[in-house]
């Protein structure tokens, strides 16, 4: 299935969870926050939240800024 991740189209296996996607990206354990179709998915729900084809995801980190 296809997801929009930070504005890019990406292929993932059907039925993948947020945690699964984070792992596939090699980001497990990193401090990130995720918004799915405009709603935040709390970290505690990453394991149980199953993504759907066409989901729009924003994944963010803290960076240097003023």
């Amino acid at each position: 299935m296809q997801l929009s991740l930070n504005g890019e189209r990406r292929e993932f296996n059907d039925g993948i969870t947020v945690a699964g996607m984070v792992e596939a990206l090699g980001l497990t354990g990193k401090r990130i926050a995720l918004e799915r179709n405009g709603e935040i998915v709390p970290r505690s729900q990453h394991g149980e939240t199953v993504l759907q084809d066409g989901d729009v995801l924003e994944m963010v980190v803290a960076v240097g800024g003023g």
Binding site: A33, E35, A62, V63, G66
Partner: protein
């Protein structure tokens, strides 16, 4: 000195200087400068994860751990209330429910002047949502008051444009804001050098937020130290109360009597 307390949203801080973490050469320099500044609160931006980048790469958080500093996530680059609100909700999730945030909603890319209508809108939503909002705004005393009434925990007028280093262009407006507000007033943006920071504190500002003045100095770490001293000097000077200005006449500091006989 011990009774000079600086509080934001109920928490006491020793340093009245808040520093940004952008525009440094690398994370090591960022950390060194932040340490030299004595700042306890540091601003951070919220940005998309760079997908595909080396996942093992160091991050800002490794160098400035949230256990050591109070993070102040900002909404830099947001031009609508909606984007600013989304960004700060993400920040709260990112930082484990952290409530203290810096709201800034910009009006245009050339001046980075705040869009106060969108800022007011976003502030209302965020305060209702439980955030402690430190808000970047113009130096308009009426808007500053409205932001206080909405419930912002600190109001942060610009001294001049973000990153301009032009210093305090309108001390009169700043004074009006300081006199009218009961929440802390911090100068945010425009400070160029240490004397600007001192002037801000001498005017009665409760604190100051800066990034570029330190990061773009030739020696950022040294400038960070200068800013620490400047903020302390300005605050002490404000508390001490300056002497009145005497126009058009001098007042000698040495005794006027007891001089030796004048030469003929």
């Amino acid at each position: 000195m011990s009774d000079d307390i600086f509080q934001i949203a109920g928490k006491t801080y020793n340093s009245r200087l808040i520093v940004g973490t952008g525009k440094y050469q690398d994370f090591a320099q960022t950390r060194e400068a932040v340490k030299a500044s004595g700042a306890e609160i540091v601003t951070v931006a919220i940005r998309r994860v760079n997908i595909g980048q080396n996942a093992g790469e160091a991050s800002l958080l490794d160098y400035l751990p949230p256990s050591e500093f109070t993070y102040l996530p900002n909404t830099a680059g947001c031009y609508t209330a909606e984007d600013a609100i989304r960004t700060l909700r993400l920040a709260r999730e990112l930082l484990d429910g952290h409530k203290l945030v810096k709201l800034e909603v910009l009006g245009d890319q050339h001046t980075l002047f705040p869009n106060v209508r969108e800022t007011l809108k976003a502030a209302e939503v965020l305060v209702k949502d439980g955030f402690d909002v430190m808000v970047y705004t113009s130096d308009d005393p009426i808007i500053a008051k409205e932001l206080q009434e909405i419930g912002c925990c600190a109001v942060m007028p610009l001294a001049s444009l973000i990153g301009s280093g032009m210093g305090i262009l309108n001390p009169w407006n700043l004074r009006l804001i300081i006199e009218q507000l009961s929440v802390p007033v911090l100068v945010d943006a425009g400070v160029g050098t240490a004397s600007d920071a001192t002037i801000a504190l001498e005017l009665g500002c409760d604190g100051i937020l800066m990034n570029t003045a330190i990061a773009h100095a030739k020696d950022p770490v040294r400038m960070a130290r200068a800013m620490k001293l400047a903020v302390e000097a300005g605050r002490e000077s404000f508390l001490a109360g300056r002497m009145p200005k005497k126009l058009y006449s001098a007042d000698p500091s040495s005794p006027v009597s007891g001089l030796i006989a004048a030469s003929k």
